[in-house]
């Protein structure tokens, strides 16, 4: 039941070390700024409010509704968190959710956690904020525009986040761009509808029972222009780059030959170290057999050791 249908939580092993590290650096910088920013806005309330809301979003991801053929609609929550709490707080909330999911439930890897934070907490929130503010600005701050803005924000945040995941997989060489990007985009266009409907339902409920929660937050989104701009940039880059990478699979290779980035991104890090030939075991098959024997000996030894200490404890205890 903890398994969310959207394939946005990348496990370890699917991103190359370089891509993981670059996304870690970006995420650390943005989350670090968000911590400061939210500290200014909320003061000492920051810890309880962020912590409990993160728990709330986590629990909210358990809520689902049946769609058709055994599939169900779920919530990721970036959009609703953004609309309720403003972009910087939402980045912190989603970062906490994604981190705890990776740490405790292995829903997403540890080394790739920077990438998962980037996709769900930063891309998800920035895109949702950009769309929501734009719709409110175009249609005025009416109930109808809040609901419409909420739906589009939720749908697009999922869709763009999925494109971001697909691009990272393609850059890491773990999934071919011409198949991964359309597949991810197609599946998440549907999943995003579920996200959008739940978000609209939640907003309608909140507008009816606690309109203060939505209105109050709206008046104080300081520093939101930066997020709006980031959101717009992310959408533009991914919407333009994805079809290019899809229709011209050589596109990525072209980027590679232009600046050598792609081959670096795909190579295991130490391919950068110059060649070195081992004088002893050069045959890979032989090495595999040796490793197999060595591994079996290690496991056998540990197993034997554990069994021995346990028997000792049992005989001395009983």
């Amino acid at each position: 039941m903890l398994l969310s249908p959207e394939a946005l939580h990348i496990p370890d092993g699917f991103l190359s070390a370089l891509v993981s590290i670059i996304l870690w650096i970006i995420s650390i910088a943005i989350v670090g700024y968000a911590l400061k920013r939210v500290g200014k806005d909320l003061g000492e309330r920051q810890v309880p409010l962020m912590g409990v809301l993160a728990a709330g979003i986590f629990a909210g991801q358990m809520l689902n509704f049946a769609v058709a053929g055994g599939t169900s609609g779920h919530l990721m929550g970036a959009a609703i968190a953004t609309i309720l709490m403003g972009p910087w707080a939402a980045i912190l909330i989603m970062t906490s959710v994604v981190s705890i999911q990776a740490l405790i439930f292995q829903d997403g890897g540890l080394l790739v956690l920077g990438a998962n934070i980037f996709n769900m907490a930063i891309v998800g929130v920035a895109v949702a904020y950009m769309v929501y503010r734009t719709v409110l600005w175009l249609m005025g701050e009416k109930k109808r525009s809040i609901l419409i803005g909420g739906f589009i924000a939720a749908w697009l945040s999922i869709e763009i986040a999925s494109l971001s995941v697909a691009m990272q997989l393609a850059f890491s060489g773990t999934s071919p761009a011409n198949l991964a990007i359309p597949a991810m985009a197609g599946v998440h266009a549907l999943i995003g509808i579920g996200e959008g409907l739940i978000t609209v339902g939640a907003l309608a409920f909140l507008l009816a029972s606690r309109p203060d929660l939505i209105q109050r937050r709206e008046t104080r989104q300081v520093g939101g222009k930066v997020v709006w701009l980031i959101g717009l940039l992310i959408v533009l880059i991914l919407v333009i780059a994805s079809p290019l990478a899809t229709t011209r699979p050589d596109g990525l290779e072209w980027v590679a030959t232009q600046n050598g980035f792609l081959s670096t991104a795909r190579a295991p890090l130490y391919r950068l170290i110059p060649d070195y030939i081992f004088p002893g075991i050069t045959n890979e098959t032989l090495a595999t057999i040796v490793a197999g024997i060595l591994g079996a000996v290690i496991i056998f030894g540990v197993g034997l050791g554990v069994a021995y200490t346990r028997r000792n404890r049992q005989t001395s205890g009983g």
Partner: protein, 267 residues
């Protein structure tokens, strides 16, 4: 029904349980990093990495089957890498026609796909072992020790504390909905109303949950204030690490370093 089953910690008194959380945290991340930088097709190294992690699982006594069951949850993502077997150029293994397309499975593709799946599987076992043998508060100490911002660690800690409370609330909401959406027993008639009704209800439940979260955070804040909270996060100083833990850290680090060197030599 409570949601305590969510807590993945498996109590015990093994050497792995007794090792300092900081050592486990650092070695786990180092292990996953080592696995990540291994090249495609470095079979001997994969075998040794697997031997290392499975030995630790045996030593921890949390159960090999338990770890494998949890590891299986992360498995479906492997589908994302499956197309590699037909898109990687290389020696063709099998070629078939599917509709108008000719599909060729290549040796290089299969090698690449199996490598990614293995690396992912080995990594997730390390993460599972760490979380199954380390209580959450100790993990928070480890996170502070590796300089994750204290504010963020405090938010994580509070989130963890109320995760179970709010997950219980979500379960109650789900149960209340199930109780009110009659099951007709007719297969065409789904429980509950139309598609929009179901979506709206789920949305209402989510909204309800957020109100409860925000209200609860207000109460928690007031409770914290009444106990002297002034916005400053105070934590116990990090406990000293015992000598034996340093030895584990160094030995683990050296072993992983040796694997990296080995992989270099194998090329």
């Amino acid at each position: 029904m409570h949601i305590h089953f969510l807590d993945p910690y498996q109590g015990g008194d093994s050497p792995v349980h007794r090792t300092d959380a900081r050592v486990k945290f650092i070695l786990t991340v180092a292990f996953i990093l080592t696995t990540a930088i291994m090249p495609i097709g470095a079979w001997p190294v994969y075998i040794l990495l697997f031997a290392m992690i499975i030995s630790m699982v045996i030593l921890s006594a949390v159960g090999v089957i338990y770890v494998q069951k949890r590891a299986a949850l992360a498995f479906p993502f492997v589908l994302a890498a499956l197309p590699l077997i037909i898109t990687t150029p290389g020696l063709p293994l099998v070629a078939t026609h599917v509709g108008p397309w000719e599909i060729t499975v290549t040796l290089a593709g299969v090698e690449r796909f199996v490598s990614i799946a293995l690396k992912s599987w080995i990594s997730v076992q390390a993460a599972i072992l760490m979380i199954a043998t380390t209580p959450f508060p100790d993990l928070m100490v480890a996170m502070r020790a590796v300089r994750i911002p204290r504010l963020l660690v405090a938010i994580f800690a509070l989130m963890w504390r109320y995760l179970f409370v709010l997950a219980d609330e979500a379960l109650r909401l789900l149960r209340a909905r199930a109780a009110r959406s009659g099951d007709s027993g007719i297969s065409d008639l789904r429980r509950g109303g139309s598609f929009t009704w179901r979506a709206q209800t789920a949305g209402g439940m989510a909204g309800n949950l957020f109100i409860r979260s925000i209200d609860r955070s207000d109460r928690i804040y007031v409770a914290m204030l009444s106990r002297g909270y002034d916005g400053e996060l105070r934590a116990m100083p990090l406990p000293e690490m015992e000598g034996s833990n340093w030895i584990v850290l160094i030995v683990g680090g050296v072993l992983l370093g040796m694997l990296v060197v080995l992989a270099l030599l194998l090329r």
